[in-house]
């Protein structure tokens, strides 16, 4: 009945991805909001605030990369809640008493998170094109931008999984992941950092979201890249490595209690 080895591990992960995707798909409210909210935010910024914000370009062209990151932050916080739900329901003991590897459950959640975010990101991009977003990216630049966004989503999803593991309830997972929703507002997502007060500017310039946004913006709309590309890559891979380690270690610790 019990097999060690790679085949079993791959099969476990596939089964748990299947589970997480199915649960996500059926959690209609969450899915609906995670797509609708970024669309509403984009409309709000483009049609309501946008006219009053000076960025030296069409505002929609400026704001779309920021909206994309806002979308992923929201998607990741849903992942934290899904993981916390497993950790704080009877499911945790069922999962623990199964002969499966400790990373399999989290990998299922993270994969579903990346898939969900990829879909909501695609919808946001399509909507932005309909609203007048005019990217001038080559196919190669599109691939690079999407690749970076996926890397960012992956890192953020593992971070969310780690938060979900330590959360004592679904509500506290939602609270813990609040900063993921808030951080984009303190970045170059919606306004240029130079317009912020002096005490906020360093936060905006040295947090991970700004270089990711600047890189995506540069790739899609041709703004100057500077060092943003490398800084974004270092932030994302660093965050990914730290988050995977933290999530796995915390999960094992929680499981061995």
């Amino acid at each position: 009945m019990h097999h060690d080895g790679l085949g079993a591990a791959v099969s476990d992960v596939a089964t748990l991805i299947d589970r997480s995707v199915r649960l996500t798909r059926r959690n209609v409210d969450t899915l609906f909001v995670s797509i609708l909210l970024p669309l509403l935010m984009m409309s709000l910024f483009v049609y309501v605030f946008g006219g009053a914000i000076e960025t030296g370009t069409q505002y929609i062209t400026y704001v779309v990369p920021g909206i994309l990151l806002l979308t992923t932050g929201y998607g990741a916080s849903n992942t934290a809640m899904a993981v916390a739900d497993d950790m704080n329901s009877g499911m945790i003991d069922r999962l623990r008493s199964l002969p499966i590897r400790s990373f399999a459950v989290l990998t299922g959640h993270v994969t579903a998170s990346v898939a969900r975010n990829a879909i909501s990101t695609a919808i946001v991009i399509l909507a932005s094109l309909a609203m007048g977003f005019e990217p001038n990216a080559s196919p190669g630049e599109w691939v690079a931008a999407i690749g970076l966004l996926l890397l960012y989503v992956l890192a953020l999803s593992w971070l969310a999984a780690a938060l979900g593991v330590i959360a004592k309830s679904v509500e506290s997972a939602s609270a813990l992941s609040f900063f993921m929703l808030f951080l984009p507002y303190l970045s170059s997502a919606f306004v240029q950092p130079e317009t912020m007060p002096a005490f906020l500017r360093p936060i905006s310039e040295h947090q991970p979201i700004t270089p990711v946004i600047e890189t995506v913006r540069s790739l899609l709309t041709g703004t100057p890249l500077g060092d943003s590309g490398w800084i974004a890559l270092v932030w994302c891979t660093g965050l990914l490595a730290v988050s995977i380690t933290a999530a796995t270690v915390l999960y094992r610790r929680r499981m061995s209690r």
Binding site: H2, D18, S89, R94
Partner: protein
């Protein structure tokens, strides 16, 4: 001996939960761990199912050590915990197939097993509905079915009927009874004496982390004595006085008197009191139940 535990000890911080527990379960038998809340029942189950490490002592399931070979142990056991471990947003069948796959059954075997179990637990009609539409009793039955999918050799049931209405409890008992007939080894915890009496071959009574008694239900009932007569008086002094005449133990208004349960003995006692002593208002004859065992031994 498919389950064997020796000297299990466990503390959580300053709280001592288990103070040296020994257990042995024969293959194919049903053992009930009976005790009040906080007695340590769930901790024993968690140690035996590899979810918690004991501070001292050791335990084996089917010869595998629960601390050193946890994944071997997990391959031969299943656990049905106190809260139903099911995904509300999957259907009953999806839940079952998922667990079958995670127990490394082949795809078609998992589906076949799922369908058989849905049938066995009376869930075929609901198998394609999401679990969140199930009643409490249906969720518990599904939970139990999920525990059985890979034909575990030992099944742990932690308070399988807590919180169920009487009809669902009865259905659950029937489902467990069927497993027993199939020869599965079961270790269950319960606060309900009736449940232990009905399902278990052997009962282990647990109180404050220690085993206070163990044996068959009958043996336990015998252990705390046979039948007794209870005589109720209007005045505690009368009860004491009567105890001086006919024996027994006065407790407030009640005199407890050991008896062989025969009408002749009751007659003799009442005649004796009518002739020489205070008159009881009421008489009750009392057969020992597991409740008495429980209350006597965990007092």
């Amino acid at each position: 001996m498919i389950v064997e535990a020796v000297g299990l000890r466990k503390s959580f911080g300053p709280t001592v939960v288990l103070e040296g527990v020994d257990l042995r379960v024969d293959e194919g038998s049903v053992l009930a761990l009976l005790g009040p809340n906080g007695a340590g029942k769930t901790t024993i189950v968690r140690i035996l199912t590899t979810l918690t490490r004991p501070d001292a002592g050791h335990a084996t399931i089917a010869g595998y050590d629960v601390v050193r070979e946890p994944s071997k142990v997990r391959g031969v056991i299943s656990l049905t915990g106190q809260s139903a471990a099911v995904d509300d947003n999957q259907t009953g069948r999806e839940n079952l197939v998922m667990i079958g796959r995670l127990m490394h059954l082949g795809r078609s075997t998992a589906r076949q097993r799922a369908d058989d179990l849905l049938e066995q637990f009376g869930l075929t009609g609901a198998m394609n509905r999401r679990v969140k539409t199930y009643s409490g009793g249906m969720s518990r039955r599904l939970d139990l079915a999920m525990s059985l999918i890979a034909r575990p050799r030992v099944i742990f049931l932690d308070e399988p009927t807590t919180g169920l209405d009487p009809a669902s409890r009865l259905t659950m008992w029937e489902a467990i009874g069927e497993l027993v007939r199939d020869g599965t080894t079961i270790l269950l915890t319960t606060q309900y004496l009736e449940e232990a009496d009905r399902l278990a071959d052997r009962i282990v009574l647990l109180d404050q982390g220690r085993i206070t008694a163990s044996g068959t239900a009958d043996a336990l009932k015998t252990q705390i004595g046979g039948e007794r007569i209870e005589l109720y008086f209007a005045d505690p002094a009368d009860a004491l006085k009567a105890a001086g005449l006919v024996g027994g133990l006065a407790d407030g208004l009640v005199l407890n008197l050991p008896s062989d349960g025969s009408a002749a003995h009751l007659h003799a006692v009442l005649d004796d009191l009518r002739a020489r002593g205070p008159q009881p208002d009421r008489v009750a004859s009392h057969r020992p139940t597991l409740d008495d065992v429980f209350l006597t031994l965990t007092a």
